[in-house]
Amino acid sequence: MVSLRLALRNILGAGLRTWLNVIVLSFSFVVIIWHKGLLDGWDRQAIHDMIEWEIAGGQYWVNEYDPYDPFSISESHAPMPEELDALIRQGEITPLLYTMGTIYPNGRMQSILIKGIEPGQEIIAVPSNLLQSGPDEIPAIIGTGMASSTGLKEGSFVTLRWRDKNGAFDAAQVKITGIFKTNVPSVDASQIWLPIDKLRDMMLLPDEATILICRDEELGTYSTSRWDFKEQDELMVDLKQIIRSKSMAGLFIWAILLMVAMLAIFDTQVLSIFRRQREIGTYVALGMTRRQVVTLFTFEGAMHAVFATVLGAAYGLPLLAMQAKRGINLPVSSEDYGLTMAEKLYPVYSLGLILGTVIVVVIVTTLVSYWPSRKIARMNPTEALRGRWQ
């Protein structure tokens, strides 16, 4: 207790040197928490958006379907399983049919993925209800990313070329009846959405589908040799890997920030021990053991972290709370990154994140403070009293 009081008096007495260290350390605290909170917020938002726009409660995939192999997509389809007919009719499962095609916006050629969707479905957020047009028109909807890359607008017509199941070329004009805004590029980039029945007619594939999207995960119990059920976690594995790799990059920033702060603490400690040798000798002469003196100096160092926590909380809490409420506008959109990312990110600061960061920084600071203080244990008190460097 005496050591704690003495340590407090000593570091307060050090004045500006102490406050500089505390400011640097508090800055590290706030930035580490802000960065981690930002990633957690992105993680939460991306998962929410992917479930809402693409994954829903999970998906059945026809065996041959491999989203990473565009060359096999047109051949990946099968009749919908009879066992799921009732659920499909009830709107609990919605089928999608995929094929590759080409569009010619403004005389340019662009390879695209054509997706057929039920106009009345309500399982994913793609606004398929916009797929309405006259009897002789083929309605189509696209995302804002696709609209921007092709220059297509609502109401415009574009030539679409595709192959039917036999491989014969066919082409027609499609009318863009809607453009939707989404944070999920995998339902927007280089793709066009058509009514599934129309696409089935075009492909000569009546009642066939490539994937079946379930409203709830409980619907994924049906099993067959032709269709595999993919759970939400499996479908989000790529996103989670990206976020994990971003977190690793975040750890690097975290380590650099902490290292800068710890360097300041370490430097301060080394300087203190060098300049306060007579004081150390006096403590020992007055009856303190060397171990108690080491503890005193370690407390002094660790108190920087305590002060930094208080200071960081004073300006960091309102700042981070404001950001968590208002969000952070990103200068780029998901279309530019190709990742599920909203234009405004809302960081998430959990209690675990804040407490965890505080505990880690306090422990590391204590260790860094103890490291140079061990030298005191090897000092000769008589020499120390004379102020001779040992």
């Binding site: 403004n106 340019r108 050629m109 070329r161 192959r163 014969a168 070329f169 066919d170 082409a171």
Partner: protein
């Protein structure tokens, strides 16, 4: 009576025309005789005219029947040594820079070759018209100075790439001088113009073909045959995967 007098000349003309017009099948058979062969080998130059610039590719190709084809690129240096092997519906592309062979099937075969107006199918297939289409002669027109039959082809084979074709066939040499290729819906997809018709080993063959994808802008792709040999002995190993890395 007046009506009969007016229509009579047209009826006579129609009868005369139909008497002179050869059967569509016969025209296709003659085209196939000129254009198709059991096997062939040729050196060609492909000049791709895009909106901004033009570039040239040179290659040597060996084909056997409708299914097998092997192409090696000779120019430019960047593409030199790139090889493509097509066996039925599968295509392998070997890139010497990466020393890797990529196998592609299905949709990729329908993609444009190196940014040209031709697909891999257009480039590597030797399709006999008689095996896939029914034909009807619908008229007679001039292409340049040459009198041509206008032939409209409708595919009876649902798997053929272009379900409709319109050909302007030279009445004397029985070679198409112009082709229009249609989608199932009737949309015009491509137009080709065939010129430099040369007699090679008793058959007429176009040494220059200009392909134009009608759905996109651009000046099209020129395909120039520099040297061609028909019905030669091509060893089996040419159409094997082993030849890709040789």
């Amino acid at each position: 009576m007046k009506k009969l007098i007016l229509t009579f000349p047209f009826m006579v003309y129609s009868l005369m025309f139909s008497a002179q017009v050869p059967d569509g099948k016969e025209i296709m058979r003659r085209i196939d005789q000129n254009m198709s062969s059991e096997n062939r080998s040729f050196t060609s130059k492909m000049i791709i005219h895009s909106i901004r610039s033009s570039r040239t590719l040179e290659s040597r190709t060996w084909t056997r029947g409708e299914e097998n084809s092997f192409t090696e690129y000779l120019f430019p240096v960047r593409e030199q040594g790139t090889k493509m092997l097509k066996l039925e519906n599968q295509l392998w592309i070997y890139s010497p820079t990466t020393d890797r062979t990529l196998q592609i099937t299905g949709h990729m075969l329908r993609q444009a070759v190196m940014g040209s107006d031709m697909s891999y199918e257009d480039l590597m297939e030797d399709t006999k018209l008689l095996n896939h289409y029914n034909a009807a002669v619908t008229g007679s027109e001039k292409v340049g100075d040459d009198d041509c039959w206008v032939l409209e082809l409708t595919a009876f084979d649902p798997e053929v790439t272009y379900q409709g074709k319109k050909l302007w066939v030279d009445k004397i040499r029985h070679i198409p001088l112009k082709e229009e290729l249609f989608a199932k819906s009737g949309t015009l997809l491509k137009r080709t113009e065939l010129s430099n018709i040369t007699n090679i080993d008793g058959r007429w063959y176009p040494k220059k073909i200009v392909f134009k994808d009608m759905l996109q802008d651009g000046e099209g792709t020129e395909f120039i045959i520099e040297e061609i040999q028909f019905n030669i002995d091509i060893p089996d190993h040419v159409f094997s995967k082993g030849s890709l890395k040789k």
